[in-house]
Amino acid sequence: MTYFADVAALARKDILLELRSRDTLPAMLLFVVSALVVFHFSLPSDASVTASTGLLWIALLFTALLGLGRAFTAEREQRVLDGLVLAPCDRSAIWLAKSLGVLVFLGVAEAVALPAYALFFEPVGWELVAAVLLADLGLAAVGTLLAAMAAASRARELLLPLLFLPLVIPVVVGGVGATVADDPGRYLGFLVLYDLIFAILSWASFEYVVAE
């Protein structure tokens, strides 16, 4: 049970940090709405539902990337990550706490993005909301691990999108499919599968990403 106490302590710290600096979340909100507006101008007037749904998912992906790019900056600046890694807690607790933080940010961003999407493009059904929530889990899980990888490299912000995009192609398929296909259950099930596989993989391998 100390594991969850550790996760709670770390998650509290992340929330505190964001409340203090207040830079990541507003940027994500502004970005996603701006992206949707740009998409309005890039879509032809007779665009299908599939097209606009696809663009929504792209907007969400890049908003996630924006947030993830900042996920470990506080730790990197002062080498605080070393301090956390030295602590007796399980390193995967760091991943879990960070992922939960990313999840919350994504959730808030979507709470703004989905109404904006409904306003600009198409009404939003329950399948889209369910898909978005499920996708968030996978994006947060994988994204946090990859963000830690990128933070350990010289290229940092340049590297994260390159690592991230191929891995989340299945999430886009699941998300768009759940919205436009006749049988959303299949796609939602697929998203659950993706989340399970990659969350477990991320949880188990985070140790090796932050410690030598």
């Binding site: 106490a5 600046e77 002062q78 030295l86 602590a87």
Partner: protein, 194 residues
Amino acid sequence: MIQAQGLGRRFGSKRVIRDLDLEVRAGELLLVTGPNGSGKSTLLALMAGLLAPTEGEIEVDLPRGRIGYLAHEALVYKELTALENLDLYGRLYHVAERRETIGALLERFGLWEVRHQRVGAFSRGMQQRLGLCRVLLHGPELLLLDEPYSGLDASARTLVDDVLTEAAGARTLVVASHEPAHVRPLATQALALV
């Protein structure tokens, strides 16, 4: 407590530590000296477990929670206050009677008045003192101090002297410094890196 055989560490193509053997027993104080770039910090990081050796091996007989590591950087969040930082570490290290211990340390190192200030506003000396608080918080059996005197004024230096005198004998210490005058009298072993 610490044993190294043929220890080596390279960064890219640069060999920083080469074929090092050493042994530090419980209660000893090892003083590590050497010019900049000789690998003092690397050696301490290897002992702390932050770095893995690229050659040879090093063994430290303690679990992570019983080791305290003071680095060049304070390893604290700039956006959080001194109190919040220590509280976080206190929770992660499962320190008993967390509030009291933190309070006592802050007082001892003269940071009680500024405990609610963001660390980002601290001077270098204050950050170093906070780092010392962090290192002592969980009462570690092994203290790895990388340049503990750096950035400190005369009065703060006596604080470090006290810490060392108190700890010598009771705990095991490895101190890296390029001003070894204060530490040499207490040292049971010395290692000069080139």
